[in-house]
Structure formats: C-alpha cells, structure tokens
C-alpha cells in the first residue's frame, strides 16, 4: 500500500509539474531587449478581440501581442486587473470600460500615453477622449461607443396600429396603448441594471459626477436625475412595464413570445436580442431613442477602451497596437462582425460593414442609424472614481423597485449618500 501510494504521489507530482510548466509564465511582459521582438500582454473579454490580435500579429512580427481572454468581464475582470496591478503582475494593455476608467485612473494603475496618441487625436471625437483621461491627457485608446436607440417589434406595433413614439411623452402613451391592445403584453422591461439605467440619465444631461476645480462633485440626486427616475417609476406604478431582471432568461423568453414589444438600449443590445430571441427573427426594427421634449440628444451606455497599464515596458508599441485595433479597417470589420460594436474612431465609423442590412432586423441597416445617433450623444457626462461602489449601491436600490421595496428616488438618494461616503473614505476631495 505504501509503495503504491508513493508511486501515486510521484505520478501526481510529475503531472503537476508538467501542467505547471505548460501554464507557467502568464500575465507578464516577456520582452527583454528593445532590439528583438517586443511582447505585449493584453487582457480582454469581448468577442472578436482575439481575432484582431491575430490579424495584428500576422502583419507586425516586431510587436507581438499576447491576448488573454478573461473568463468574465465586468467587476470580476476588473478586480483581477486591479489586484494584478497591485502585485506588479499587470498586463501591458487591458480592456477597460469607460465607466470604470476613472476608477483605474484613481487607483494609479494607468500610464499617460498622450504623447503617443497625439498624431491620431483627430480620429476620435472630444467627448470620447474625455472617457479615457482627464484634462486632455490620454491613458488609453477608445475602441467603441454605445449610443442608444429603440429596438421594437415592427409587426406588433403595426398590427395594433400604434405609432412609434418619438418622445418620452409619446412613449408613455404608447405604453398604455400596448397594454390596451394586449393585456398580456407590455411595451418594455423596466431598466433596473445600473449601467443600462445610466444611459437614460446620460441622455437627459443628468451627469452623476462632475469636476469642480480640484474636487469631485456628486449629483446623483439632482433634479434632472429625479425627473428620469420619476418617469420610470411612473410607468412601473401604472403597470405599464414588465420588471424582469436585466439579462434574464425570462426576459428573453418574453421578447420571443411577443410579451415585451420593445427595448430601449445601447447598440450592443442588437446582438443581445438577436442571439436570445431567435424565434422572432425578421420582425424587429430599430428607431431613434425617444427624446426629452425637443432636446435632440441621446444617451450612451457602454463602450470600452484599451487602457495602458502602469509598469508596461513598451507603452509606445502598446499604444501603437491599440490605435491600430480601433482604426484599422480589417480589425474594425472583425470587431463589428463578432461583437456588433459601434467603432469610436471616425475611420471606423466609415467602415462599410456598418451599412450591411441586418436580416434579424427585417433587412434594416441598423448601424447606419447608430452611426448618425452617435454624433448626438450628450457631451455632458462624467464618470467617477468609485463607480463600483456607486453601481453596487444603485443596483441594490433599483433591485428593490420591482418588489416594491423602494422607489427610483430612494435608489438615487441612497446611491448619492453611498457615493459621497465612498469618495470621502478613500480620501478624495468632494465639494458641493
């Protein structure tokens, strides 16, 4: 028995060593000399990034990008990046959503690469650059934006003879009409995901954060925010919307069965709906996001950047790749096809792939609409450095609305308080 155990142990250790050797060496930049090929590590999760990286590596043997797909994006992925940065094992490049960018900045884990992007500054609109740095400095390269629009079941609206709403007032009227036409159906699902909801606030110019001199300001409980919150609270109280959790299988099922007729969401909702509501293919269409009165502005909910982490030994080469990924025709076509992104760069927006008719949306070339709308994104929006605390608090608060444990206003006030205390606890200057 002992001999057998010993042999088992030896085998296990040998196998372990084998696996260790195979898996060793992840997460650091292996480049040693500047003269030889340079290695740049890149952590991301969006679909298609790996292909763009492969395309780059084919044509750029001198700068080798090693892509590592994180299993999940969002908070888990960011936690990993921040922990790695703290430990000094951070990658050179990281996919960081705009909403989290300020957090990374404040954590001092990013590198200023303004000098390397200067030549291509004009490629991206100013409001987009504002998402990857402050005061005109750039700490990364934007990749995509996510303007919002209204996805709707064209067939259902037509059969019920309900006009597609152009303003939020008309939307409320249409909501009542939908319920009247079919008591089992509702016009839309209540937005309770904090980041999806942020797009609505963004549209109305109700920024949550601001910069005043050398301090942060927090305005989550501003009058404009209250207006947006009250609007959705009203629709919910009148029973005119469903209240599934965001990204829930029950919601997808409702889209499929025609129980929820529309979704006002960002450009990436296009693939979300397409991939999860296959039964209703060909029946959907896209219209501009309903407006607030006569103000011609839309909201943005999403978008990522390729951030350059501190400690990256080759910021120049890393930035070169990042710019390429966001502007090169082949790369952008790939990203559009894989992840249905809307490119942030001007040359990206001119990409012919955006003119393609989408069969799922009845042959409509939906990305043309998003391209036009992207120019109308409200420029008055600022993300803050404690977004994970803000989002967690807002998520908790909004999560209570469907079960009637709280209102939108409660959620906004609670988040205001939580954000202020998070800022103060971490030593940021806050002013009124």
């Amino acid at each position: 028995m002992v001999k057998r155990t010993a042999r088992l142990i030896a085998a296990a250790v040998a196998a372990a060593a084998g696996i260790a050797l195979a898996g060793c060496g992840g997460g650091d930049d292996a480049g040693t000399q500047a003269s030889g090929p340079v290695d740049v590590t890149f952590w991301g999760w969006a679909a298609g990034y790996d292909k763009s990286v492969a395309l780059w590596n084919e044509s750029h043997p001198d700068i080798h990008v090693k892509y590592e797909a994180l299993p999940s994006g969002g908070q888990t992925g960011y936690d990993k990046m921040l922990t790695a940065a703290k430990a000094g094992t951070a990658p050179c490049l990281a996919q960081v959503g705009y909403e989290t960018f300020s957090t990374f900045l404040a954590a001092s884990v990013l590198q200023d690469v303004s000098q390397y992007v200067k030549a291509q500054r004009a490629e991206f609109p100013d409001w987009v650059w504002n998402n990857v740095g402050v005061g005109g400095a750039a700490y990364g390269v934007p990749v995509d934006t996510a303007p919002m629009a209204m996805f709707y079941r064209a067939d259902l609206f037509k059969n019920a003879n309900i006009a597609i709403p152009k303003t939020w007032e008309e939307f409320a009227t249409a909501a009542a009409a939908v319920k009247a036409a079919n008591p089992q159906a509702r016009i839309m699902n209540l937005p309770t995901d904090p980041y999806l909801y942020s797009g609505f606030a963004w549209q109305h110019g109700a920024s949550w954060f601001g910069v005043k001199g050398d301090s942060w300001t927090v305005s989550i409980d501003s009058a404009a925010n209250a207006e947006v919150g009250q609007y959705w609270q009203g629709l919910f109280t009148q029973g005119l919307v469903t209240s599934y959790p965001a990204f829930d299988a029950a919601l997808y099922s409702a889209w499929n069965k025609g129980e929820v007729w529309s979704e006002v969401g960002p450009v990436w909702s296009a693939s979300l709906i397409r991939d999860n509501a296959g039964d209703s293919a060909g029946k959907w269409a896209v219209a501009p996001m309903p407006r607030w009165g006569t103000t011609d502005a839309v909201g943005n909910s999403g978008g990522s950047s390729t951030a350059v982490m501190k400690g990256c030994k080759y910021p120049k080469q890393a930035t070169e790749f990042a710019l390429w990924m966001s502007t090169n025709d082949q790369s952008v076509s790939n990203l559009i096809a894989s992840a249905a992104i809307l490119p942030a760069s001007k040359s990206g927006l001119a990409n012919a792939a955006l003119d393609k008719p989408e069969s799922y949306y009845g042959g409509q070339p939906i990305y043309q609409l998003f391209r036009d709308e992207s120019a109308k994104v409200n420029a008055n929006w600022q993300w803050g450095p404690v977004m994970s605390a803000t989002a967690a608090s807002l998520g908790d608060g909004l999560g209570k609305v469907p079960t009637k444990g709280g209102t939108y206003q409660d959620a906004l006030s609670g988040t205001q308080k939580a954000t202020l205390s998070a800022l103060q606890a971490q030593g940021f200057s806050v002013s009124k």
């Binding site: 028995m1 002992v2 155990t5 088992l8 142990i9 296990a12 250790v13 196998a15 372990a16 696996i19 260790a20 898996g23 060793c24 060496g25 992840g26 997460g27 650091d28 952590w43 679909a47 590592e68 797909a69 994180l70 299993p71 999940s72 969002g74 888990t76 936690d79 990993k80 922990t83 790695a84 703290k86 430990a87 000094g88 094992t89 990204f247 829930d248 299988a249 029950a250 997808y252 099922s253 979300l272 991939d275 999860n276 296959g278």
Partner: protein, 306 residues
C-alpha cells in the same frame, strides 16, 4: 487553503483498532411493521427532497437547446438530447471543458494526496513525539480554521505575486495541500491506533523514524482516506481562490469555468450546456465517494466519538 469549513467534527476516539460493529437487530427487540413503514416513509420523503434537484439536473441535461425553461421541469422533453448536449459541451469554446475537468482532477487528486501525506506526517508527529511547543503548534493550526478564508485570498495573491507564482498551477495547488483539519484528524487517529509499543519496537530494531511511520500509516489508513476524500471535495468545490489566482482559462478548474459560462447569460454558451457541464462535473466526485465509501465511514467513526 480551502473555502469550505464545514468539515467533520471528529474528536478523540474511545475505541482501539479492534471494533465490532453493532448488529442491526438486537434479539431483545421486536419490530412493529407499522413503525417500520412510518420510518421508511419519513426516510423516503427526505430522500426525495435531496434527490429532486439532482433529478432536475439530470432531466435538464437531456433536453434540447432552448427547451430548458419550457414544458415540465421535472420530466423529459420532446426528444432525448443528452448525447447531443454532451457533444456540444465538449466542443464548446474549443474544447475547454475537458481541460477544466482535467485541471480539477489534477488539483483535487494531486492536492488531496499531497495534503493527506503532509497532514498525516504532522499529525503523527504531534501525537507520538512530545516535543517542546507541541500544543502551541496544534492550537495555532486549529485556530487557522476560524479565519475567514475568502478574504485571505487577496493577501495570498499578493504573497504569490512577489514570488511570481500567480497565474500558474502552483497558485491553486499550494494552498490546496495545507489541511489543518487533516492534521487534527490524523493526530487523533495516530494517538489511538498507532501503539507506542510499535514505535519502541521499531526503534529497538534500529529502524529510522520514517520507516516506522510507514508502518504506522497502514494503521492510520482509514483516517487518511477520510482526509483525502474531504480535501478532494473541498478543492474540487473551491471557487474563489482559483478564480482570483488564475487569469488563464486553460488553468482553471471546472467550478470557475462553469460559473463564468453562467455569467454569459445564455450566449454564446447556452444554459443547457452549463447544466450539462454541471452534471458531468459531479460524476467524478460521486464516483470517488462511492468507491471509497467503506474506508470513509470507518475513518469518520473513529474520529467522531469522544
């Protein structure tokens, strides 16, 4: 290091190596058939309670894609799609699932074996050698069980990153081979089942301490199998530590992999695939448990009675 701390609660054993199992029926009692029926009914009801979710898992893995949330949740769907689902599972994302299963096995089997060895050595020494500081060591090891493991994971990450072991096999393996509970159990078992005379005799014969230990191991075998089994389950279950330590998907165990697939919320990996993956991932654990059942109940018995 494991996150699960609901490990068994053995204490000093009262019995020595020879022990007769109590026979089922004593000749002095009679069995009332009504009582027997009642007892069986109660036990069956609980069995149903425990098995229903497992049954749901089995049934769901046989349903076709897209049928998961329609129809009867507890019975089979239109057609039997288990084979298709398993094929989809093993093909998903370039066959990463089999890699995850292999990783889990390596971590759990390898970690289980090594931790058992280290813990039994330590427990044996604590039981048989009265060296200065013995109780202090034992006390500290036990106290470690009270530490909230999930939050220790972050400092551990920092420690590992200073030595460059992060995002490697070792980042998960090394914490897995430390089993304070294993030390506790093996100390108890060694104290009761390895007689001092054996050690004395061995020393008189001129045998080295380690040689004597290998003989003692045979007597400690049931406890060692117990430690192995519980450590195996604990490592297999472990989610937080590997998800933090490993950025590379090809190093991840199956728990982390399945949760990341679930977070994709149905696309491109469907819920049916996730459910099938969950079912398949249970099989090694159950197989391990069933095959080691006889050893394991003996080991627990010894440890569980003061």
């Amino acid at each position: 290091m494991t996150t699960t701390l609901q490990t068994p609660a053995p204490t000093e054993p009262v019995v020595t190596a020879t022990r007769r199992r109590r026979p089922r029926t004593s000749p002095l009692t009679t069995v009332n058939p009504a009582t027997r029926l009642l007892v069986l009914l109660v036990m069956s009801l609980f069995a149903v309670y425990f098995l229903v979710p497992v049954w749901w898992l089995v049934v769901s893995a046989t349903k076709g894609q897209g049928e998961l949330f329609s129809g009867n949740g507890f019975w089979f769907g239109g057609h039997f799609a288990l084979v298709d689902n398993v094929q989809t599972l093993f093909r998903a994302q370039g066959g990463i699932y089999s890699r995850w299963l292999l990783n889990s096995l390596m971590y759990a089997v390898g970690g289980g074996i090594v931790s058992t060895l280290l813990a039994s050595m330590c427990g044996y020494a604590l039981a048989k050698f009265s060296f200065p500081g013995r109780e202090a060591v034992f006390g500290t090891v036990l106290a470690a069980v009270l530490l909230p493991a999930p939050v220790l994971a972050i400092p551990l990450y920092l420690v590992f990153s200073y030595t460059g072991t992060v995002n490697t096999f070792w980042a998960v393996f090394i914490p897995s081979i430390v089993s304070p509970f294993g030390v506790y159990l093996s100390r108890i078992y060694a104290a009761s089942s390895v007689p001092d005379q054996l050690i004395e005799a061995g020393r008189l014969d001129g045998a080295g301490e380690f040689r004597i230990f290998t003989i003692g191991v045979r007597l400690m075998a049931p406890a060692m199998v117990t430690i192995f089994l519980f450590q195996f389950v604990a490592i297999w279950t472990n989610f937080l530590l590997p998800s933090l330590m490993l950025a590379d998907t090809s190093l991840q165990p199956v728990t982390v992999g399945l949760v990341s697939w679930r977070e994709l919320q149905g696309y491109p990996i469907s819920y049916t695939t996730v459910v099938t993956g969950a079912l398949v991932s249970v099989i090694p654990v159950v197989a391990m448990f069933l095959s080691l059942q006889s050893f394991w109940s003996k080991g627990l018995a010894t440890g569980a009675v003061k």
